[in-house]
Each structure stands twice: as structure tokens, then as C-alpha cells.
């Protein structure tokens, strides 16, 4: 069991961890295995490149928490909202998600709010994109992550930028803790699906 836990902590993102056929890593996980893990553990699936891995917390810089997989792909969040990726190719270099965080915290907001993010273009120059976003739904939803059920509210945020429309979703429990999310990274990496395996 101990080695299984160790395996989870050093899992590789590319190709999909443990199996190049991209068999769903979730099916290999059991609640008993997760009991062995003594630190926060995240499961991340990158839809655009069909890869999946577990990640552990690598660093904290202020509010930014960086999670890393065993083969050094990293995801950085501010209170559960993605602000950067590294190691995916078409990475999210940075993001300003202040308004999304305000919306998720239930603070008073105008209907439409702005969100910014940046990536590197083909000549490695910083390219910014701005989105107009709004909350489109907040519905109670009961979700199951590796055999454990969580009562959450699913909040959907639709963001529109010229030629692009994406929907980010956040599943948070009554205390505001985020158990699951689906967030857009970039055109070529697609969406991130994250699930919190160990709190």
C-alpha cells in the first residue's frame, strides 16, 4: 500500500499516467489507497492532450499554490482558480482572475466582468487575451470522487473573447472548499479537469 501511495505522488502526466492507452486513472484508484496519502493530492486531466496525472503541492507564493506532477508538469491556482501551467506546450503563462474569485466568493458583482490571461505566441512573445465573463448557473450537485461523495454547488462561468467561448465550472462545498473544477487553459491544451483526491 505504501508503494501505491508513493506511485500516486510521482505519477507522470505525459502520456496519461501509468498507461499509455490513457485508461482512466480514476479506475485504478481506491479510497483505501488514498487513506495512505498524508498530503494534499490532486488529480488533473488535460483534455486537449489526453493526459492525466496526480499532483502534489510544490510551492506557495502568496495566494498562488503550485502543484506538480512527477514528470514536472505544474498547475498553479489562486483559491482553486487556474492562473498558470507549465510543461503542457501551449501553456497558460499568467492570468488575472480577481473578478472570478470575487464572483465565487459571492461578493456583489456587475453581471459582466473581465478576466485576462496570457500565453506565448509562435515567436515566444507574450500574447494577452481578455474575456468578458458572467456567472450562468449555480446548482447544487452531489459528486463522487474515488468512492467519496461530496455535496457541492456547481458554479458555471461563461467567458467570451473574440472567436472563442469557454465555460469554466467550479464544484465547491458549503465551506467553500473546491473539490472539482473544469477550467479552460488554452486552445491547444484545451480544458483542465481537476479533482481533489486528498484534502
Amino acid at each position: 500500500m505504501r508503494s501505491a501511495a508513493a506511485f500516486l505522488l510521482t505519477c507522470m502526466l505525459l502520456p496519461a499516467c501509468g498507461n499509455p492507452q490513457a485508461v482512466d486513472l480514476r479506475s485504478q484508484l481506491t479510497p483505501a489507497q488514498l487513506e495512505q496519502v498524508q498530503q494534499p493530492l490532486l488529480l488533473a486531466e488535460i483534455e486537449g492532450i489526453n493526459a492525466m496525472s496526480t499532483l502534489i503541492v510544490k510551492a506557495r507564493n502568496g495566494e498562488a499554490v503550485t502543484w506538480e506532477s512527477g514528470d514536472r508538469v505544474s498547475l498553479t491556482f489562486r483559491d482553486g482558480v487556474l492562473i498558470g501551467t507549465r510543461g503542457l506546450g501551449d501553456d497558460l503563462m499568467s492570468a488575472d482572475v480577481d473578478n472570478t474569485l470575487r464572483m465565487l466568493a459571492g461578493r456583489p458583482m456587475p453581471e459582466f466582468y473581465t478576466r485576462f490571461q496570457s500565453r506565448l505566441d509562435g515567436e515566444f512573445q507574450t500574447a494577452f487575451r481578455s474575456f468578458q465573463c458572467r456567472r450562468i448557473a449555480a446548482t447544487p450537485e452531489s459528486i463522487t470522487i474515488v468512492g467519496r461523495v461530496h455535496q457541492t454547488v456547481r458554479t458555471d462561468e461563461r467567458c467570451v473573447s473574440p472567436g472563442l467561448e469557454v465555460t469554466n465550472s467550479y464544484w465547491r462545498d458549503a465551506t467553500g472548499f473546491q473539490w472539482k473544477s473544469r477550467q479552460w487553459i488554452s486552445e491547444n491544451a484545451g480544458y483542465l479537469l481537476s479533482e481533489r483526491l486528498v484534502r
Partner: protein, 664 residues
């Protein structure tokens, strides 16, 4: 038939087309959004040149330029002007003005006026003759050695209309019809059966970047054409598959910064060991370190990242994790071949604050101070002496020999390098061919000049195995903004001797000036240790200018290998992702006649970063120079590690263009 639209900016296109007795290979580069240049290599069989003389075949090289005078708007067509084959032997020589208009999203029409070869079908008196009677008749093609610009011919003689339509039937399929004003004066009787001036085509996009088309031509022939195109600005792996960098570690509490740490004797050694280890993990080498309570100065060697800014960013990140909390100033010095290129001074609190800032790249660039290094450190113990070696594959192509237009050798290359002290490098390269046909090139040089390059085929044939390089080189800083190089030994496959260079290149300037003086002796064809009789002093004064818009220019004036005096003009488009596409031409006091075919030395050069192709993190690149013909005038000795290229990316313009990768 030309049209007025170009390719997207920076696109490279390679087209090969064939119909009876006509094989054409064309490489096109969209130099700027409006200007494109093409190089065409054609094999034409059974053509008739001039007065009844029958030529078996012709291998023809030609250049052309296309410039878009006006882009298309709702009310105006795109308008372009073009010159075909204005160098070279000129069998395709023609000029045109053309307009194209997109009438519906699927339908585009083109009409134009052509001169020269494009002014022959239903030609009429040149309308430009109203400006000058001299334009009414086109002087005879002089049939020179090629290469001479026959400017006096341009837009002379009869003109004719041409035109066509393109219909985009589906997303993949395009139909074309054209009325061509070129009646194939040299080929149209013997080479194929020219009947009518109409052509019809089907163009099918096999996948993005690959087009296949077929044409019914001139009422008698079927032709096929394959086009590959890609754009250096669109890397297949986007900005690269680099692994996550070391995270920034923010100091816990500003008030608790301990200033007493230097009194602990092991503290320095401990920091150095931890930093060396952290840099190692991210592919960098710690060359030297100095540390006081407030400032850490770090020299690094980057043999991993294409962008020095990325190496500097990763070094700064690693430093946040190991430096005592009292250290607020990071000075990072990229070292190349023992020379410190520049120093980048960063505030640690900026690194801590900007790691995830939306505009962190620009903010960190503005806050960084990039300057000439103001002190040198003792290298870390254990770095020197240093020995590295590598066995790697090589590919050596040879193009445009009339007997066999494409030849190549491939084999293994052993590279070894020994550095006894900073800036002193002993380096050798040995090649062993495994497979190839370069030895089949038996064409003898007919050069009337000293045969300084025209016997390259003998070197290719005899050198197996070949000692490609065996040199001792010393690199040094000769003063503020002044760098020096001294190289001695077997400098390249055909020459050995001594090469010296001085380069003045201020860190923050776009201009650099250099002088190089060499005394070299020609090596034996076998490329072992012996020499032939020919020896010569050569040298150049060089000016380099980075225009700041992606283009760099270079002028080298001086004495060339054959003892000829002159100058080389180069212009490169440099992409921040490492691609380079450039052209050069050399004019010396060797007359065009003495030079022989081609009239003067010229060519293209490409640098393709291998990481662009694979997504991997590497500084390796494939660099090649393509000359339509290699002869003896305007030839230079080739030396490893010329200073400008070596230092360029450690200086301000290079760091700036790569700074997007600072946080990568």
C-alpha cells in the same frame, strides 16, 4: 501566371511541378508581409535556345521578387509588381503588374500586364513607351554568365495581358482557369507541344500545408504540382514542452532577515553546493558565485535553453530557494566560452512578487538592469579543466551539380572539447561517412582563379575519415565592450592556420563592429594533417546591425581567399524562436567573367532550431547555406565560434526578444 496575393508573412513554400520535359522546384519565402522572394531550380529538356541551336537540356537557376503595392480592400483589388529571373541566365526573364480581387468569398479574379516572356501572346506596343522610346523594344538577352542584373531590359518591349479566375469549390478543392501570355519561346516547339494559351487546374489540399494540383496545360499537356508550406512563426509544439521551472520560494518574513549568516563558516559553501545542484536539475551550470550579506553574483553557463532570458529566469527562481534571506540583489551573468556576455541585475522582491503577475514578463524586464559585466569571478573549483565529448550523426548535402542536382553524405561525427581554463578551448571534430554519394561528384573545376573553393568535391571524395576541425582557441575580453578571439589549427575542412578577431559590441546597442584577420593554408584533400601549397592572408572589417524589427544586416569588407578584395552584404530575418532565413551576396574585384558561371558569390542561409521541430528543450540547430553555385571568388574561411553569433543572445537585443520566456 502570377497573382497579386502573397503568402502569409514569413511563410516558406516549396513547390515541385512537372509536365513534359519541365521540372521546376521553387522555394519561396515571404520576407515581409508584402515582399516575397523565390528561388527556382528547373530542369528543362529538349529546349531550343537562340538561333536554331538545339540544347539537350538546361539546369536553370533563377530568382524572382514579388512586391504587393496595395492590399485588397472592399473597393480595390490587391495590386502587385514582380520581377522574374532578373539574375541568372534569364530564360524566364519577365516583369508584370497584376491585380487580384476577391469577388465573392469563393471567387477571385486576376488580370495583369506582362513584359518579356509574359508579353508575348497577342503582344502590343509597350504602353510605357510614352515615357521613353527606348522602352518600345526589348534588347536581346545577353546570355551572360548569369548573376548580372540586366536592369536595362526591365519593362522593355512589347507588353501583353494575362488573366485568370480561381474558384474555391469546397474547403479543400479549388478550380483555376488562366489565360497565359507566356508562349514558351524556348520550349514551345521542341520540348512540348504548345497549342493554345489556356490552362485549367484542380488544386486539392491534402492536409494543412500540403497541396496537390493537376493541370491541363497549353492544349496538350497534363502537369502535376505538389506544394509544401509552413511558417516559422507557427511551431508545431507551440512554445515548447519545457518542464516546469523551479518554483519561486518567497522569504517567510521580511523582518526576520538574518544578517549574521556570513559568520557561519559553512554557510557560503552550503549555498554554493545547493545552488549548483538546483541549477543542474534545470539544465544549467553554475560557473562562479560570490556572496555578501546583500548581493549574490552568479555566473551561469547555459547549454540548454535557446533563450538566455529563460536561463536567467530559471537561475533567479533557483536562487530564491537557496539564498539567505538578507540577500536582496541577484546579479546573473551568462558566460559563453569563458566570456561573460552581460550582467542582469534583479531585485529578489520583484522575483517574489511577479512570478504569477499577469504582466510579469514585461514588468520583470523593465525592472531588470542589463549591463556590461563589471567584475569577473574566480570559477568554482572543479569546473576546470573540463572535458566533453559527443558522438552524433551528420548530414552533408550538396545541391545543384548539373550531373546530379541532389547528393548527400551521412555518417557519424565525433566531437571532443577540452577546456583547461576559462576561455581556452581545444576542440576537434572527426567525421566518418557511413553512406552517401558525394564521392560521385567528378566535375572538374574550370576556374581561372586560385581554386580556393571550387574543388570542394575532391575534399568530399577524399576525406573519409576526415579531420574537420582541430583547433586551440582563446576567447577574452579586451576592454569595455571589446571581445577577442584567437584560433589556431585546422580551422575547417579545407583550411588551417591562424584566425584572430576583435569585436566591439556594447551590451545595450544594436550596432557592433568587428575585425578579423586570418593567415591560412589550404589543406590536403584527405583532410588529415597535411597541407597543399596555397596560402593566403585574408581578413575583414565587419559591421553588424540589428534593425530591431526582426531583421539584422551585416557588411563584411576585406580580402577573400583567392586574394580578391571586396565586400559581402547579408540580410537575415531572425525569429525570436531561433529561426533565421537570410540572403547574402559578395562582390569582389574578380570580374564577372573570371568568376565564371553565376558572376558573383551569393546564396541563402537557414538556421532551423531543432527544438522548434521536436518541442524539446535544446540549443541545437540545423544551419545550412545554399549557394546556386560555389566558385572561387568571394570565398571566406569558415571558423568556429565567431564572436558576434556567440555573444549575440547574451546582449540586450537578444535578451529582450527572448524575455517572454523569463517565467517559463
Amino acid at each position: 501566371m502570377p497573382t497579386a496575393h502573397g503568402r502569409p508573412d514569413a511563410e516558406l513554400g516549396f513547390t515541385t511541378s512537372y509536365f513534359r520535359n519541365q521540372l521546376r522546384n521553387t522555394l519561396t519565402f515571404q520576407v515581409t508581409p508584402r515582399l516575397s522572394g523565390s528561388f527556382r531550380y528547373s530542369n528543362i529538356y529538349d529546349l531550343t535556345l537562340g538561333s536554331g541551336s538545339k540544347s539537350e537540356f538546361l539546369f536553370d537557376r533563377s530568382f524572382s521578387l514579388h512586391y504587393q503595392l496595395a492590399t485588397e480592400t472592399n473597393f480595390r483589388p490587391a495590386i502587385a509588381i514582380g520581377l522574374n529571373d532578373f539574375l541568372g541566365t534569364g530564360i524566364y526573364r519577365s516583369e508584370y503588374v497584376v491585380a487580384s480581387k476577391t469577388l465573392t468569398p469563393r471567387l477571385r479574379v486576376t488580370g495583369g500586364l506582362g513584359w518579356g516572356r509574359l508579353g508575348r501572346v497577342e503582344g502590343f506596343r509597350n504602353p510605357l513607351a510614352v515615357f521613353s522610346d527606348g522602352l518600345a523594344t526589348r534588347d536581346a538577352r545577353e546570355g551572360n554568365q548569369g548573376g548580372e542584373i540586366e536592369i536595362k531590359n526591365i519593362f522593355q518591349g512589347d507588353a501583353a495581358f494575362f488573366g485568370g479566375v480561381e474558384y474555391q469549390a469546397t474547403d479543400k478543392l479549388r478550380l483555376t482557369a488562366e489565360y497565359s501570355s507566356d508562349d514558351y519561346p524556348f520550349e514551345g516547339e521542341t520540348s512540348f507541344d504548345y497549342r493554345i494559351p489556356f490552362n485549367f487546374g484542380l488544386n486539392y489540399q491534402l492536409r494543412r500545408g500540403i497541396d496537390l494540383s493537376t493541370h491541363y496545360l497549353y492544349g496538350s499537356e497534363l502537369g502535376v504540382q505538389l506544394t509544401f508550406s509552413f511558417n516559422p512563426k507557427e511551431p508545431p509544439f507551440f512554445s515548447g514542452l519545457d518542464k516546469a521551472p523551479p518554483p519561486v520560494v518567497r522569504r517567510a518574513d521580511v523582518s526576520a532577515r538574518d544578517l549574521g549568516w556570513p559568520s557561519q563558516p559553512s554557510a557560503r559553501a552550503n549555498v554554493q553546493a545547493r545552488l549548483a545542484n538546483a541549477l543542474d536539475t534545470t539544465g544549467l551550470k553554475l560557473h562562479a558565485l560570490s556572496l555578501d550579506e546583500r548581493t549574490a553574483r552568479v555566473e551561469i553557463e547555459n547549454r540548454t535553453y535557446l533563450a538566455q532570458a529563460q536561463a536567467i529566469g530559471r537561475t533567479a527562481r533557483a536562487m530564491t530557494a537557496v539564498m539567505p534571506a538578507s540577500v536582496e540583489t541577484f546579479v546573473i551573468v551568462p558566460v559563453v566560452n569563458g566570456i561573460a556576455g552581460s550582467q542582469v541585475t534583479l531585485r529578489r522582491s520583484d522575483i517574489e512578487a511577479l512570478e504569477w503577475d499577469l504582466d510579469g514578463s514585461w514588468k520583470s524586464y523593465v525592472r531588470a538592469d542589463i549591463a556590461a559585466p563589471d567584475e569577473r569571478l574566480q570559477p568554482r573549483p572543479g569546473i576546470y579543466p573540463r572535458f566533453t565529448h559527443d558522438i552524433r550523426p551528420y548530414l552533408q548535402p550538396s545541391l545543384f551539380d548539373p550531373d546530379q542536382p541532389v547528393r548527400a553524405d551521412a555518417g557519424a561525427e565525433l566531437f571532443a572539447r577540452y577546456e583547461p581554463a576559462p576561455g581556452l578551448i581545444l576542440q576537434g571534430v572527426v567525421r566518418k561517412k557511413v553512406i552517401g554519394n558525394l564521392d560521385e561528384a567528378t566535375r572538374e573545376s574550370d576556374s581561372v582563379l586560385p581554386r580556393v573553393r571550387s574543388e570542394s568535391n575532391i575534399y568530399d571524395r577524399e576525406g573519409d575519415p576526415a579531420l574537420k576541425e582541430l583547433t586551440a582557441a582563446k576567447f577574452f575580453r579586451a576592454g569595455p565592450d571589446l571581445y577577442g578571439r584567437l584560433s589556431l589549427g585546422y580551422l575547417e575542412s579545407q583550411y588551417g592556420g591562424i584566425s584572430t578577431e576583435l569585436l566591439w559590441k556594447p551590451v545595450e546597442r544594436n550596432l557592433a563592429l568587428g575585425v578579423e584577420i586570418n593567415y591560412v593554408k589550404q589543406r590536403e584533400f584527405e583532410q588529415l594533417f597535411g597541407f597543399r601549397d596555397y596560402e593566403v592572408a585574408t581578413g575583414h572589417a565587419s559591421a553588424y546591425y540589428d534593425f530591431g524589427n526582426g531583421f539584422t544586416g551585416q557588411i563584411d569588407a576585406g580580402r577573400y581567399l583567392a586574394g580578391d578584395w571586396g565586400a559581402t552584404f547579408s540580410l537575415d530575418r531572425k525569429f525570436a524562436n531561433g529561426w533565421k532565413v537570410g540572403a547574402f551576396a559578395t562582390f569582389t574585384d574578380v570580374s564577372f567573367d573570371d568568376f565564371g558561371e553565376g558572376s558573383f558569390d551569393k546564396g541563402f542561409r537557414f538556421v532551423i532550431p531543432l527544438g522548434w521541430i521536436s518541442g524539446d528543450v535544446t540549443r541545437d540547430e540545423f544551419a545550412t547555406t545554399i549557394r546556386p553555385i560555389t566558385r572561387d571568388g568571394g570565398a571566406r574561411v569558415s571558423v568556429s565560434n565567431r564572436l558576434y553569433n556567440m555573444l549575440e543572445d547574451t546582449h540586450e537585443p537578444g535578451l529582450r526578444s527572448g524575455w517572454g520566456r523569463f517565467w517559463r
